[in-house]
Amino acid sequence: MGFGPFLFLATLEGLVQASVLVLTAVGLSLVFGVMRVVNVAHGEFFMLGAVIAWFVATNMPGDPAIGFIAALIISPLAVGAVAYVADRLILTRLNYNPEATIVATIGLLYVIQQSVLMTYGADARPVDPPFYYTIRLPWFGYSSYKLFVIAAACVLLGVIWFVLKRTKWGLLMRATQFDRETALAFGIPVRKVYSFVFAIGAGLAAIGAVLIVPIQQAHYLMGLDPLLLSFTVVIIGGLGSIQGTIFAAILIGLSDGILSVFFSPTLAKIVSTLFVAMVLVFKPNGLFAKAKR
């Protein structure tokens, strides 16, 4: 295979990574932007999404596609519900104090991780893709499922954009993000918005996880990588900026995919870490930071 096709393959692989990353990172960014909560348990919501997807898919009789679609619906809802309860039970009581919520979400990380270890076990388990069809390109065959992942991420981003910019709910979230006090003075139930946003953020991580389990198996420690990558992306893109997060996720996903194919995954991680360091030194508010009042 020549260099051109090889680069094309690497780019496709990078886009698949970027697709999952962008959903996970937008969830983290939304939670930070609106609630000012640094959710260290975000990766565990991702992992929980994958494990629930495996559970649903293996218990659903019939065609793997039915199991997969069921997982795609049930898993984000279940993970969102867990997040909602965590918000009501823990974060509300801490008054969303920034330091306290970091400690609390570290605790949540271990609670979720160990609960999964105790119930699901330490094995990595695969989920069947909904379809196996391979697309024949002139140079190589490529999994149609992976292309589906890219398309699904694009559609979901479109939905997120629409909800944020064009609906009443989006307006509530943006108003809360810009100025919590003024939002309250106009009758916006800020606490309810927070609970909802925390659930949505976790649900987005779960959707990313459901999309990845047919490619990468579900395992109780799989939350760490997406957590670190999401933080990387959110720092590069500018805390709380959705556009910045999307741009940075594509950048990191692509560079990760391409460097992993041509060189090694380790080099890819080194490069992205270096990049974060550079951003923190030269543009500490991120590439897309907006002036905050």
């Binding site: 307006l171 100025d179 309250l184 003075a185 009042r293």
Partner: protein, 234 residues
């Protein structure tokens, strides 16, 4: 008849430090009550406590006779209390229309309320899709008032609306306040500059160190400049 707004004995704290002491006011429809006081007297804190943003530790709040003392902050505006915060606090990255829509969320009154609010400020209609942070200072103040009017309030609280504005813009805002008063709204106006309140106020309450020290009718104040010297130092 019940007062439009009645605050009884608010004690409000920031951590350990007390910012309001036994703060009480009473306000009728069609009247303007001005709250005057030096920097740090607690004027803004008083309004934030009424809105429930900084809840008082003790005290009662009644709007049109309804006891709202135990209500969470987001319930309070629904009872018809509009707030123009100090420094306007617009959602500066959102458009004029989106800012007004946030005012509309509270009381699903919709398009009519929006049209009515805009009728006071025709210039905002021309700029409806402009990002609000790019409006002029006077226009931003108008938008802040229009946003508060969108909830169709019976009580309107304005925190130093003329701060930093040119005389012509101050006059325009004053005319709107007079119009709203004449339409029967109860208005609580916070100011530091006395000349800004004399033409509109019915009553003036002087605040110092979180307390209301004296409440006087505007005619009494006009005949008694010593009061101003004492509380605002002019």
């Amino acid at each position: 008849m019940a007062a439009s707004l009645e605050v009884i004995g608010f004690d409000t704290f920031y951590g350990q430090s007390q910012a309001l002491r036994e703060f009480s006011i009473r306000l009728e429809g069609g009247k303007v009550l001005c709250l005057l006081g030096r920097n740090g007297a607690g004027k803004t804190t008083a309004l934030k406590s009424i809105m429930g943003i900084i809840p008082p530790r003790k005290g009662k709040l009644l709007i049109d006779g309804n006891d709202l003392s135990e209500k969470p902050a987001y319930e309070i505006p629904k009872h018809g209390i509009g707030y123009v915060p100090q420094g306007r606090r617009l959602f500066s990255e959102l458009t004029v229309r989106e800012n007004l829509e946030i005012g509309l969320l509270t009381r699903s009154t919709g398009k009519q309320a929006l049209e009515h609010a805009l009728s006071y400020f025709p210039v905002l209609r021309e700029r409806i899709n402009q990002v609000s942070g790019t409006l002029s200072g006077g226009e931003q103040t108008m938008l802040a008032i229009a946003r508060a009017l969108c909830i169709e309030p019976s009580v309107l609280m304005l925190d130093e609306p003329t701060e930093g504005l040119m005389p012509s813009a101050i006059a325009a805002i004053r005319d709107v306040v007079i119009k709203l008063r004449d339409e029967g709204k109860a208005i609580l106006l916070v100011e530091q500059r006395v000349d800004a309140v004399i033409p509109v106020a019915d009553t003036v309450a002087f605040m110092d160190h979180g307390e209301i020290r004296e409440t006087v009718a505007i005619d009494v104040l006009k005949d008694n400049p010593a009061l101003l010297q004492k509380y605002v130092g002019v």
